[in-house]
Symmetry: C2
Subunit: 218 residues, 2 copies
């Protein structure tokens, strides 16, 4: 059984280490962790999903007695709430149109029980885009990446190549100038269509297989 644990603790060195110690002592394998410091800098928030812990009462007791923990909650795993993510990065005008297609299509699949969220970052500049594409590999639950702009190449193309080496995240590019379309799995002219196809590619209730159209230009 997988459980979710939400913990608020003081922002001190070693708190996460203590908590992970409790979990591994009780045989828990941590499948997902999200931890960040709240705005005031004093409180750290930790959310973890853990499988394999049998003695929940013992877990509760140990967390309760853990120094610096202010409050905590054990609940069912929240992982499935935000589901698979479509990430759209690029210029505002194009990102908005791709998102419109993706959100409409995600709605249609989510109604049938899927969980697909659509996350965007409108941003310009080779260096910024390079960093953003590279960082996609560090984000959880990414299903597909759409690059939406008018001109992308150079270091951005390098980041796409690196992403494709490190992960199996497919990349859709709009038709645009620069070398990014050459390294994308699929190139689509209409941004709305690109958004719809991105969702179809990761939806289980859709029949579209991006591997069967690899390298195509639509």
């Amino acid at each position: 059984m997988e459980i979710g644990i939400s913990i608020e603790a003081e922002n001190k060195v070693g708190v996460l280490h203590k908590l992970t110690g409790i979990l591994s002592e009780l045989g828990g394998n941590i499948t997902y962790t999200q931890q960040f410091i709240k705005d005031d800098g004093k409180i750290g928030f930790i959310y973890m999903e853990v499988e394999g812990i049998k003695n929940i009462d013992e877990l509760k007791k140990r967390i309760e007695n853990c120094e610096y923990v202010k409050n905590f909650e054990i609940h069912s795993s929240l992982k499935k709430i935000y589901g698979k993510r479509v990430i759209i990065i690029g210029g505002g005008a194009q990102v908005a149109e791709v998102a419109r297609g993706a959100i409409s299509e995600a709605d249609r699949h989510n109604i049938r029980g899927e969980r697909i969220s659509v996350d965007t970052l409108p941003i310009v500049g080779e260096e910024n885009l390079y960093e953003a594409v590279k960082a996609v590999a560090t984000l959880p639950r990414v299903g597909i990446l759409v690059l939406a702009g008018s001109l992308m190449g150079g270091k951005i193309t390098e980041a796409v190549k690196e992403l494709k080496e490190k992960t199996n995240i497919p990349v859709i590019s709009l038709k645009m100038f620069g070398s990014v379309p050459k390294v994308a799995d699929l190139v689509v002219g209409d941004p709305l269509q690109a958004g719809v196809l991105a969702v179809m590619a990761i939806a289980e209730t859709a029949k579209f297989d991006i591997n069967r159209v690899k390298g195509r230009v639509l």
Copy 2:
């Protein structure tokens, strides 16, 4: 100095515990953690941001010698890449329009050096929306929440109240039926306008202060 560490390790009990141990021994305070198991179930990916570590060479050596670690990279902190998040939850049609306003507005601020991303979840049903709103408190870097639908109340309203008690995340609601508009900080009729205002409320380059219009209906 804050550093970013990306680690790939075998999916074994106790790996995160060992790594956090190395960090706290070297005086590092973990300000951000993201950890998840990759699709194949064999490899865990860990990304951490850490401040206060002076001896980077020692850190490298210790991580290198850590059991189960397959490869790792120490780099500049990636936290600022995706920046503050606008979260939009609700029905597909409205979510898409709010997103359009928010993405266009975010683009205008990001060009001036900010980092605002716009993340959406098109979803229906009281129970689903209740879970999604509750889970907003567990997401990092959330700046503001927009609820975009035609009818929201009951448990969803409870989740909004709980979110407002636990966090200082402002909530914008579209004009809609149900009790959610009653507990929102601001109610906006036009979805495009709601998206633009959501970004203005969290942008540092904008002059809009949501606290000065609290409880207003636009």
